[in-house]
C-alpha cells in the first residue's frame, strides 16, 4: 500500500460493462487501492454497504434497470454519504450538472486518464474521511453533553452566551458560588480547559441540531 493512501478505505466500482469494470478495478488495485466491484446498481444496494471508513464510488451513468443517477438519488435518500465519481461513455452536460449539483465529486468521460481517476478517487476518499471524523467528533461531544445535569446545561448555555457567573446566577435564581461549582463540572465533563473551546463544542452541537431540525 502506498504511503499517501488512507488506511481502511474501499473504492467501490459499479459498471455494467465487464471489460471496463475489470480495467478500472485492475488500475485501482495496481495503484494500491482496495476495490470491490458490482455489475449493476441494484447489486450494490443489495450488498447493504454501511461504510465504517473512508469509501468512494466509481459509478457508470448508463446501466440497465437502475442508472447511476438513480443510484445517487437512492443513496442520498438512505442517508448514506458515499462520495461519487461518475464515469460515462457519452456524457451530456445536463446530466453532468445534475450529478455535480447532487454532490458528485467528479464527472469523467470515458476513456479517461489514470491521473484524472486517481486524483478524483483521492479527493473523494478524503471527503469521506473528513465526514467520518466529523461524525466521530460529534458523537463524542454529544456523549459528553448527555452527561450534564439539566442545571449544568443551563450554566453551559449561559457561559456560551458570554455571561458572567453573577449574571447566570441572577438568571437562574441561584448563588454565584453555586454557578462556579456547576461551571467547573461542565468544563470537566466536556473535557475542555477554556471558554473558547466550550463555545466551539456548542457550535458543533447546534449545527447538528439544526441539521436534525432540517431533516424533520
Amino acid at each position: 500500500m502506498n504511503d499517501g493512501i488512507l488506511s481502511g478505505h474501499i473504492v467501490y466500482v459499479v459498471d455494467d460493462d465487464d471489460d471496463v469494470r475489470r480495467g478500472i478495478e485492475r488500475l485501482l488495485r495496481a495503484s494500491g487501492y482496495a476495490c470491490r466491484s458490482f455489475s449493476n446498481a441494484v447489486a450494490f444496494l443489495d450488498a447493504g454497504i454501511r461504510p465504517s471508513g473512508p469509501v468512494c464510488l466509481v459509478l457508470d451513468i448508463r446501466m440497465p434497470s437502475m442508472s447511476g443517477v438513480e443510484l445517487q438519488t437512492r443513496l442520498t435518500e438512505l442517508g448514506l454519504f458515499i462520495p461519487i465519481i461518475f464515469v460515462t461513455g457519452h456524457g451530456d452536460i445536463p446530466t453532468c450538472v445534475k450529478t455535480l449539483k447532487a454532490g458528485a465529486v467528479s464527472f469523467l468521460s470515458k476513456p479517461f486518464d489514470e491521473q484524472a481517476l486517481l486524483s478524483a478517487v483521492d479527493e473523494a476518499l478524503n471527503l469521506s474521511k473528513n465526514e467520518f471524523e466529523k461524525q466521530a467528533r460529534l458523537v463524542d461531544v454529544k456523549r459528553r453533553y448527555d452527561l450534564l445535569t439539566s442545571r449544568e446545561r443551563d450554566v453551559f448555555a449561559g457561559v456560551v452566551r458570554g455571561l458572567l457567573n453573577k449574571q447566570i446566577g441572577d438568571e437562574l435564581g441561584i448563588a454565584e458560588k453555586t454557578v462556579k461549582v456547576h461551571r467547573a463540572r461542565v468544563m470537566e465533563k466536556m473535557a475542555v480547559e477554556s471558554v473558547a473551546s466550550l463555545v466551539r463544542l456548542s457550535q458543533i452541537l447546534s449545527e447538528n441540531e439544526s441539521c436534525a431540525m432540517r431533516e424533520c
Binding site: D19, G23, L27, H90, D113
Partner: protein, 566 residues
C-alpha cells in the same frame, strides 16, 4: 401557306407527303392526348393517348362533337379555346378540370390551315397538369427539405433548379406563345438566358440555319455519335443518352439533310431533349433568319416543350430524391453516432485502464507478471472489440456507392445491425425476441442498402416502444422463407403506437413523419430500396395494439434453381 422564305416553301411543297406521314406518326403515338377538330366542333382525329384516357376506341369518337364527348354538354362550354380560335383564327389555351379524362388539363388549341391558308380547324393538345402540380409540390417539399438540411448542397441544387426552371419556363412560353414570330425569339431568348445563367455554355439550340449548323457538324465530325437510323426514330422527340452531342447536321443517303437539336442539362448528361428535322436538298441553302416559321413549327415546338418539361421535372425530382436518401442516412447516422461513441468509448476506456495498470504493475519489485499478462490479454480483447465496432460502422458511413445485388444471409445481416444497436436496446430495457427460421435460404439484395432498411425499421421500433412502461417494451424480429412465392420475409413487430390505424400506406410517403426530429424520409427510402430489389414492404396494426412491418425479398436460387441455403 404562310409567308416563309422561298427555299423553305418549295421544300415543303416537294416533301408534303413525307411531312404528312411524319406528323401523322407523331400525332398518333404522342403521349399527351391530342385531337383535331373541324370548324363545327367535330372530332376529325384523336390519338391513342386520348382514346385510352377516355376508355373508348378512336374510331367511335370521330365525328362526335367535342363538348358532348369531353364535357357532357350540348353546346360549347364557357371559355372554350376552340370557340375563340374560330372567331380570331389565333391559338388559345385554358386550364380545365375535365372529369371524363380524370384530371386538370391545360388545353391548348392551334389553328390548322389548308394549303390556301384558310382556317379549317384546330389541333387540341391536352396536357395533364394535375400530374405536374403534384410533381411541383413534391419538388417544393424536396427543395425545402434539402435546403434546410445543407446550405452548401442547397446552393448546388438551386442552380440545378434554376436551370430546370429556365427550361420549364421556356417550354411554357413556347407552349403559350400567341404568334409564330414569338416562338423563335422565345427560343433564342431562352437559350441566351440559359447560357447566361452560368456554366451552361453547352446548351445549344440550332434552328434551321443550315450554314452555321453544317459548319458545326463538319468541325466536330470525329466525335459525332452514331445517329439513330431514320426507321428507329418513331417520334420526333426522343431523349438523349449520355454521350450524345448537341447539334448535329448530317446528309442522309437519299440526299436529304437531317438536323438534330438538343437541350441538355450540363449537370446531368442524361437530362435533355432533342428534335430531329429533315430537309430536302433544296432547303440546304442557308436561311439567314426565319422571321415567320411555318405553321408546323409551332406544333413542333409544343411537342418539344412538353417532352422537355416532363423530362426536366422528373430528372430533377430523381436527383433530389437520391440526395434525400443520402441526407436521411446522414441524419440517421447522427442518431447512431451517440450510440456508437458509447460503443467505442467502452473498449477504449478499458484498454487505457489496463495499459496504465500494466505500467504500474511493471514498476513493482518484483513485477506482478501474472497480473500484467491478464491486463495485456484484456487490452488485446478490447482493441479487437473497438475494431469490430469501426468495421461494422464503416459500411454505413459510405456516402456514394452503387448498389451491388448479391446473395445475402438475412439472419447474419440482421444480427450485425442488432449488435450495433445492442447497447441502445439494453439501456432502454427492451425485450428483444428473435424468431429466425433455421431453413432460411439466402436472399437477393444489396448488403448496405438492406442494412439501412433494417436500421430504419429497428430505430423506428425502438423509438415507438421507448415511451411505453418497461414491461411493455417488446420487439419481435422474425425471418422466415415463403417458398410458394419464393420470397424471404423479415418482420419487425413492436408494442409501440407507431402509426394511426388507416395510415398503412401514408407512412411510406415522403415527408410523412410522427417524430419531432424526423424528416419523414426513412420509410419512403426503405420502400424505394426494397421495391428496387424486387421486394415489397408493408405495415399493419395488429389486434393487440402491436405494429408490424414486413419486408419481403426475392430468395436467391442456386444452379438447380432451388433456394440457395447458406
Amino acid at each position: 401557306m404562310l409567308d416563309v422564305g422561298d427555299g423553305v416553301a418549295s421544300l415543303e411543297l416537294e416533301s408534303a407527303e413525307a411531312w404528312a406521314a411524319f406528323w401523322r406518326g407523331i400525332f398518333d403515338i404522342h403521349l399527351d392526348p391530342l385531337a383535331l377538330l373541324d370548324m363545327r366542333y367535330r372530332i376529325v382525329r384523336v390519338n391513342h393517348a386520348l382514346a385510352d384516357a377516355l376508355g373508348r376506341r378512336a374510331e367511335d369518337l370521330i365525328g362526335k362533337r367535342c363538348f358532348e364527348v369531353f364535357h357532357g354538354m350540348s353546346c360549347p362550354i364557357a371559355n372554350c379555346p376552340h370557340a375563340r380560335l374560330l372567331e380570331d383564327g389565333c391559338a388559345h389555351a385554358e386550364e380545365f378540370a375535365i372529369e371524363s379524362l380524370g384530371g386538370i388539363y391545360w388545353i391548348s388549341v392551334t389553328p390548322v390551315f389548308n394549303t390556301e391558308g384558310e382556317l379549317i380547324g384546330s389541333l387540341h393538345i391536352a396536357r395533364n397538369v394535375s400530374h405536374y402540380k403534384a410533381l411541383e409540390s413534391e419538388l417544393r417539399f424536396a427543395r425545402d427539405a434539402v435546403m434546410a438540411r445543407s446550405e452548401e448542397r442547397a446552393r448546388e441544387i438551386k442552380q440545378h433548379v434554376r436551370f430546370g426552371q429556365l427550361l420549364v419556363s421556356l417550354a411554357l412560353d413556347i407552349g403559350r406563345a400567341k404568334s409564330e414570330e414569338g416562338i423563335l425569339s422565345l427560343i433564342q431568348q431562352g437559350v441566351t438566358e440559359i447560357a447566361a445563367s452560368g456554366g451552361y455554355d453547352r446548351c445549344v439550340f440550332w434552328i434551321l440555319d443550315g450554314k452555321v449548323a453544317r459548319a458545326v457538324a463538319r468541325g466536330e465530325k470525329k466525335g459525332a455519335p452514331s445517329d439513330p437510323h431514320p426507321e428507329d426514330v418513331t417520334d420526333s422527340v426522343w431523349l438523349l443518352e449520355a454521350s450524345a452531342r448537341l447539334g448535329v447536321l448530317s446528309q442522309l443517303p437519299d440526299g436529304r439533310t437531317r438536323f438534330v437539336v438538343a437541350l441538355m442539362s450540363p449537370q446531368n448528361e442524361r437530362c435533355g431533349a432533342a428534335i430531329q428535322v429533315e430537309f430536302s436538298p433544296t432547303a440546304g441553302r442557308p436561311v439567314e433568319r426565319m422571321e415567320a416559321p411555318p405553321q408546323r413549327l409551332r406544333l413542333f415546338c409544343q411537342v418539344f416543350a412538353n417532352a422537355l418539361w416532363r423530362h426536366a421535372d422528373l430528372e430533377e425530382l430523381h436527383s433530389l430524391r437520391s440526395e434525400l436518401t443520402h441526407l436521411d442516412r446522414v441524419a440517421r447516422l447522427g442518431q447512431l453516432t451517440a450510440m456508437l461513441a458509447h460503443e467505442l468509448n467502452q473498449p477504449l476506456a478499458a484498454t487505457l485502464c489496463n495499459a496504465q495498470a500494466a505500467v504500474r504493475l511493471l514498476g513493482r519489485t518484483p513485477p506482478d507478471l501474472k497480473e500484467i499478462g491478464l491486463a495485456l490479454d484484456d487490452i488485446v480483447d478490447n482493441a479487437r472489440r473497438a475494431g469490430d465496432v469501426v468495421k461494422r460502422t464503416r459500411e454505413l458511413f459510405k456516402s456514394e456507392r452503387t448498389a451491388v445485388v448479391q446473395k445475402v444471409n438475412l439472419c447474419v445481416l440482421v444480427e450485425r445491425v442488432l449488435s450495433l444497436l445492442h447497447n441502445e436496446i439494453a439501456i432502454s430495457e427492451i425485450s428483444l425476441t428473435r424468431s429466425f427460421d433455421p431453413s432460411m435460404p439466402l436472399v437477393l439484395g444489396d448488403e448496405v442498402q438492406l442494412q439501412q432498411v433494417v436500421v430504419n425499421l429497428m430505430t423506428n421500433a425502438l423509438d415507438a416502444v421507448r415511451g411505453k412502461p418497461r414491461n411493455e417494451r417488446k420487439i419481435l424480429i422474425g425471418i422466415q422463407p415463403d417458398f410458394s412465392s419464393r420470397m424471404g420475409v423479415l418482420s419487425v413487430r413492436d408494442t409501440g403506437d407507431g402509426f394511426v390505424p388507416g395510415q398503412e400506406t401514408l407512412i411510406f410517403k415522403p415527408f410523412h413523419t410522427t417524430k419531432a426530429e424526423g424528416m419523414g424520409m426513412g420509410l419512403a427510402i426503405c420502400k424505394q430500396i426494397v421495391e428496387r430489389l424486387g421486394g415489397a414492404i408493408g405495415a399493419e396494426r395488429l389486434v393487440k395494439g402491436e405494429t408490424e412491418f414486413r419486408v419481403s425479398l426475392p430468395l436467391a436460387m442456386d444452379e438447380n434453381n432451388e433456394p440457395h441455403l447458406p
